[in-house]
């Protein structure tokens, strides 16, 4: 303690013998040396060698990177670990360095030193990085990739469409390009990933009294809080938003239904088996859910149909304002998946009520998840000879 007081006393008095020159010059000199040393040390931790000095980093993510376009490509530009994982902006870089203490902690406790442990943690580690990319709008990617300097005409037509839409809102790259540098973790049963990637996961803000279209098959609920399901809302169905509460919306679905059994299946229009929604038995009978209007007999089947309007709740997500991207995705999928064994029939070859029979008969041959299957069938029905009378 005495030694400290001694130092303190010396510091707080003007120097007796050391000239102002030596003190300031040596301080200045040491400042430079310190700052140089500090930054070199800092930069040393920003090198690939440092990152892969840990075995777990070298054996997996580094090897996976070598398979990707960031490792070797026709222009010979290689991205190493720091390029993406260490922010270039100084203050963020320091923050990241402190955050790295968590990595040191993991290294000490050997949380991911074996492949099995790494795999278990892969989704968690990846999600943390994705969150960081979301937070700074994929700044790491935009250091090298820039929307303004992209040559649209070099891209495929599909890519052009999506990229221009992304460029318009300066979208964060990681929204779609997950798994571009390292193996994409197994995200469990993510539903129709390509469909969502192309069509998006729905409008950010919904307005009441406006019409939207479902981008996925969605569950229906009795009210804005219960988890008891009251049926399903089919993909590509037109709904009108009536009320918004929390992350649920009350929607109006109008259509027709067959007077068969409980009549809980709502179709797009009279006499057309194009599915809009299917309510559960008791939801269809519940007071105030389903409103019934005029009736008509369908000459093709002899069944009577009723016009109906249903008002019921569903979640806020996966409601889009434009239907065309859904039809584009469906046409593209139909053209590639359904031409493997023979030329796929033209959309106009069958009418709306024949398509389900033909399509169901062929399902065994294609790999389509439930949502894509429902979307392609609805696309074929709504572009069938019932709607498009031009000769083919």
């Amino acid at each position: 303690m005495k030694w400290f007081i001694n130092i303190w006393r010396t510091l707080t008095q003007p120097a007796k013998y050391l000239t102002l020159g030596t003190v300031s010059f040596s301080a200045f000199l040491m400042g430079i040396i310190f700052w140089g040393g500090f930054n070199t040390a800092l930069e040393m931790t920003n090198t690939e060698e440092f990152c892969i000095s840990c075995h777990s980093m070298e054996s997996m993510p580094y090897k996976e990177l070598q398979e990707t376009v960031h490792w070797s490509n026709h222009s010979g530009v290689r991205a190493t670990c720091p390029d993406c994982h260490v922010p270039h902006n100084w203050s963020r870089k320091i923050a990241r360095k402190i955050e790295a203490s968590h990595d040191m902690w993991g290294w000490m406790l050997q949380t991911v030193n074996t492949p099995e442990k790494f795999e278990d943690k892969r989704l968690e580690m990846a999600s943390r990085e994705w969150q960081r990319f979301d937070r700074d709008n994929s700044l790491a990617c935009k250091n090298c990739h820039n929307y303004d300097s992209m040559k649209w005409q070099d891209m495929s037509k599909l890519a052009q469409k999506q990229m221009k839409r992304a460029a318009a809102i300066d979208q964060s790259c990681i929204d779609c390009h997950k798994g571009i540098a390292h193996k994409l973790p197994d995200m469990g049963t993510a539903r129709a990933p390509e469909l969502i990637a192309q069509v998006g996961s729905g409008e950010r803000s919904l307005q009441t009294e406006k019409f939207y279209f479902t981008a996925l098959t969605k569950p229906l609920f009795y009210n804005d809080h219960t988890d008891v399901e009251a049926g399903t809302l089919n993909i590509a169905t037109k709904v009108k938003v009536l009320e918004i509460k929390g992350n649920r919306v009350k929607v109006g679905i109008d259509g027709w239904r067959k007077k068969v059994g409980v009549g809980r299946v709502i179709y797009y229009d009279f006499g057309l088996n194009i599915l809009s929604a299917q309510l559960s038995k008791d939801a269809a009978l519940e007071e105030g859910v389903m409103q019934v209007f005029e009736e008509k007999e369908d000459p093709m089947t002899g069944l009577t149909w009723q016009r109906v309007e249903a008002k019921i709740w569903t979640e806020k997500d996966y409601l889009v304002s434009d239907l065309q991207p859904l039809w584009d995705y469906a046409r593209e999928t139909y053209s590639t998946s359904c031409s493997v064994c023979h030329t796929q029939p033209d959309e106009k070859h069958f009418d709306a009520n024949s398509w389900p029979g033909m399509f169901q008969g062929m399902i065994a041959f294609v790999n389509m998840d439930q949502d894509t299957q429902a979307l392609v069938q609805k696309y074929l029905q709504t572009h069938s000879s019932t709607f498009d009378k031009s000769a083919h």
Binding site: G263, R264, S337, T343
Partner: protein, 830 residues
């Protein structure tokens, strides 16, 4: 002048043979053209089965079944013959007259004229010039490249996809709808049960074996037809057939084969046969239905809850509408089945769980839609649709339907269509008022009567004026009907191009023939286990393509290069890139559900196994809740009476199943006085359609004096003085053929069978002349489609009706012509 002096004189002429280096070259270290020397067992797959093959210094040596295939077919012995048979197309060939005169060549000599070898570059430019000419002169309606066939297995090298993508990059063309196997069935069934049914996965065999008390095999021979499959076949259904055989022996399950002929399945199972007159099955079914109604055996609750229109079918059944009650007595006169048996059948079918299994032959006849429709009505009246081991199936004899599928995703394929942003060179879509898509079996009618309008499936089809055809991976001169009518049509075509492995009859009737290589000469990837989707198979290249044959991928990459669209065609990827893409896309689609190793490990192991699937019952979800799981019919229910079909107003396809007389029918039917015998040309036992007929040694195991066997009854043989092994001339007013007589008591009087797929080998009218362009030429080998009728099943499906065919036959006298099917173009020794 002695030898020494003579030779010395030759040297003094200082003549040196310069042109064309000697055919020999110094042996360079690496055997450039020879394949890799590693001679281990390598996996590959064909429609006949998945195999393992061993090479011995560059040549395929032994073939053994894939270890997961417990019931390999003996067609495995024909595999080597497929590759090394002498009738391989070795070089690009062009018909000489076409090469000289192009589109003004003398087309009446097609089929027996002279070919000339050309280089690949010359042949492909010739193809492009012909396409240019047709597109400019006639537009897309002049070109038909829509035919498809069974090609070879393999998702990358699917020959028809390659052809249609490349030709599609040049210009649009006429396409087809439907196919020859199930044309009528796949068109009618969506109106009745809401799905094509014929290609849909069926109730799992394990459930049928547990639950069914009676199984009805209606004109169905699974034991014969399951030998081949759409993908690399591993014959898993045979394990279940073996269990069924055991159950039949123990009397636990009663199997009835309703068929005019004793089938291979019936002999294997040792079950009973119910003989029915050919083409009269609908009458028999109506008799059974009538008995059910009069005895009240039908399931009224099921009919009311799950079907529509039974009330509008009853008047016809009971005779109120047309004055003819379809009683068992009425049915017996037509079908030849006694009324007692008909009544007994009505009881048997409605007691205990009954599984109806329909074959495909029965719908490949005139009015072929009716037996499928009436069978669905019978199943509805029995009321067991949707129960395990009950209801009706239309495909348990095809590609392993009934073996539960693993649920894994299968690999995609090389794209058949143009990529989204690509435009063809000739972008016109003006089909000059004609239809751009025609029913597949009406292409010869279209060539003969362009501009004619016919009814088809509720719409009108106007025949395009077709001037050029391109065939790849299919053999219309095998699967189409009425050869002599085809010859007349082919006279009207200006240019015919065929890409094939061997000199099929289609090649011989073409102008340009391009040699493709077999599955064993290229790398590919395929599913094995067909519907069971049991796993993915690496199809290794065993040997380099023989002679100057190329893979279809290579052929059409070069063709695209002529149009300057090579990158567009291949998406800038070679064969290996494509294999990796298809594999990795599939790996991604299966991520999380089925683990798949990386490509190189897969390629070394040879296959990835997905494992078993869960048993499943067809239509179970519909039976459980018809409202939530409606069928694909207009009403969502089973339509016994279809208002939609009734509204079409077709005389040959009314609104409910109907018995209608055929243009030709045996056993007292029309035309049976002049040509009494019915000819059945079903799928062959020792081939896949026409594939493997060229495999020489294997063909020897079943031919009679080198010709296709014709199976006939002892009585018919005796009455015509024919002994077993004689050569027989089978004829009618459409054509004539020679075949080898095989007397078998499986065949009743008045019925003969010649398997389709026998290669057409015409040898002039009196058999004297080689070559066969002559209309009415005798077929020297025995192709049944020389005799069949080229008519549509009805205005609804316009499908193939090969089974409506009456013939007569006699012992062949006179000089026996040589078989000319298997040697490429035979020149007319004029």
């Amino acid at each position: 002048m002695n030898r020494r002096h003579f030779l010395q004189g030759l040297v003094s002429t200082s003549y040196v043979v310069l042109s064309g280096a000697s055919v020999l070259a110094p042996l360079n270290a690496l055997a450039a053209s020879g394949p890799k020397s590693k001679d281990g067992w390598l996996t590959t797959g064909t429609h006949f089965g998945a195999f393992k093959i061993k090479r011995k210094n560059g040549v395929i040596d032994q073939v053994k079944p894939f270890d997961l295939d417990k019931y390999p077919t003996d067609m495995i012995n024909g595999i080597k013959g497929l590759v090394y048979n002498p009738s391989r197309v070795r070089y690009p060939m062009v018909r000489l007259d076409f090469l000289l005169n192009r589109h003004k060549s003398d087309t009446t000599q097609r089929g027996d004229f002279r070919f000339v070898r050309v280089t690949w570059d010359k042949a492909l430019n010739l193809l492009k010039d012909s396409l240019d000419e047709v597109q400019t002169k006639y537009g897309p309606s002049g070109l038909h490249a829509g035919q498809t066939g069974w090609r070879a297995t393999g998702q990358l090298h699917s020959s028809t996809s390659h052809m249609q993508r490349a030709i599609g990059m040049h210009g649009n063309f006429v396409k087809k709808i439907g196919d020859y196997s199930t044309g009528a069935g796949q068109t009618i069934m969506p109106y009745i049960l809401g799905s094509t049914e014929v290609y849909a996965q069926g109730t799992s065999w394990s459930l049928i074996l547990e639950e069914s008390k009676t199984i009805i095999l209606w004109s169905n021979d699974p034991y014969k037809n399951l030998q081949v499959g759409w993908n690399a076949e591993t014959h898993e259904s045979f394990a279940y057939l073996a269990q069924l055989k055991e159950k039949v022996k123990q009397g636990k399950i009663r199997v009835i084969s309703i068929d005019p002929v004793v089938t291979k399945t019936q002999k294997y199972l040792g079950c009973e046969q119910l003989y029915v007159n050919p083409q009269t099955d609908v009458a028999l079914m109506l008799g059974i239905a009538h008995e059910m109604v009069t005895q009240g055996l039908h399931d009224k609750t099921f009919i009311d809850g799950y079907s529509l229109g039974f009330d509008r079918f009853l008047p016809y059944l009971l005779g109120e509408s047309d004055g003819v009650a379809k009683t068992p007595e009425w049915a017996s006169q037509i079908s030849g089945v006694t009324p007692e048996i008909i009544r007994d059948l009505a009881k048997v079918m409605t007691q205990g769980r009954t599984q109806l299994m329909m074959g495909w032959c029965i719908q490949r006849q005139q009015h072929g839609e009716q037996p499928y429709w009436m069978a669905a009505v019978l199943a509805t009246m029995i009321g067991q649709i949707g129960l395990p081991g009950g209801g009706i199936s239309y495909g348990h004899h095809y590609s392993g339907i009934g073996v539960p599928s693993s649920g894994a995703a299968a690999p995609g394929a090389f794209p058949r269509n143009l990529d989204e942003d690509q435009q063809p060179l000739f972008d016109s879509n003006d089909f000059k008022g004609a239809s751009s898509t025609i029913p597949v079996a009406r292409w010869i009618d279209a060539i003969m009567q362009p501009g004619k309008t016919i009814d088809a499936n509720g719409s009108k089809v106007t025949f395009p004026d077709i001037k050029m055809m391109v065939f790849s991976g299919n053999n219309p001169w095998n699967h189409h009907q009425d050869r002599n009518k085809m010859k007349l049509a082919f006279h009207k075509l200006e240019c015919v191009v065929t890409i094939d492995i061997n000199w099929t009859a289609t090649c011989r009737f073409s102008d340009i023939v391009l040699p493709a290589c077999t599955t064993l000469e290229r790398n590919d990837i395929d599913v094995y286990g067909s519907y069971a989707n049991r796993g993915i198979l690496a199809m290794h290249k065993m040997v380099e393509p023989l002679f100057e044959s190329l893979s279809d991928f290579e052929i059409f990459t070069r063709f695209a290069a002529i149009m300057g669209k090579e990158k567009e065609y291949t998406r800038d990827m070679n064969e290996l890139d494509w294999l990796k893409k298809l594999y990795n896309d599939c790996k991604k689609a299966n991520a999380g559900k089925f683990a798949m190793p990386d490509f190189d490990t897969f390629w070394k192991d040879g296959y990835v196994h997905f494992g078993e699937g869960k048993p499943w019952t067809r239509h179970a979800d519909f039976r459980e809740d018809p409202e939530i799981n409606p069928l694909g019919t207009p009403s969502g229910l089973i339509e016994i009476f279809s208002r939609k079909i009734a509204q079409f107003g077709y005389d040959d396809c009314p609104g409910h199943p109907t018995w209608m007389e055929k243009t030709e029918r045996s056993h007292g039917g029309p035309g049976s006085n002049k040509f009494p015998v019915w000819m059945q040309s079903c799928h062959p036992d020792k081939r896949l359609h026409s594939q493997m007929c060229e495999s020489q040694e294997y063909r020897e195991t079943y031919t009679v004096q080198g010709r296709e066997p014709v199976y006939l009854s002892p009585e018919d043989a005796k009455s015509r003085g024919i002994k077993d092994g004689d050569i027989v001339r089978v004829f009618n007013d459409r054509g004539q053929l020679l075949a080898g007589a095989v007397i078998s008591d499986s065949f009743p009087k008045g019925i003969i069978r010649i398997h389709e797929g026998a290669w057409y080998g015409p040898v002039g009218k009196d058999g004297s002349k080689e070559g066969g362009a002559e209309v009415g030429a005798l077929c020297s080998y025995g192709d049944p489609n020389t005799l069949t009728q080229d008519i549509g099943t009805s205005k609804l499906a316009q499908a193939c009706a090969a089974y409506t065919c009456q013939v007569e036959f006699e012992k062949f006298r006179g000089k026996l012509p040589q078989v000319s099917s298997f040697d490429g173009p035979v020149e007319t020794l004029v």
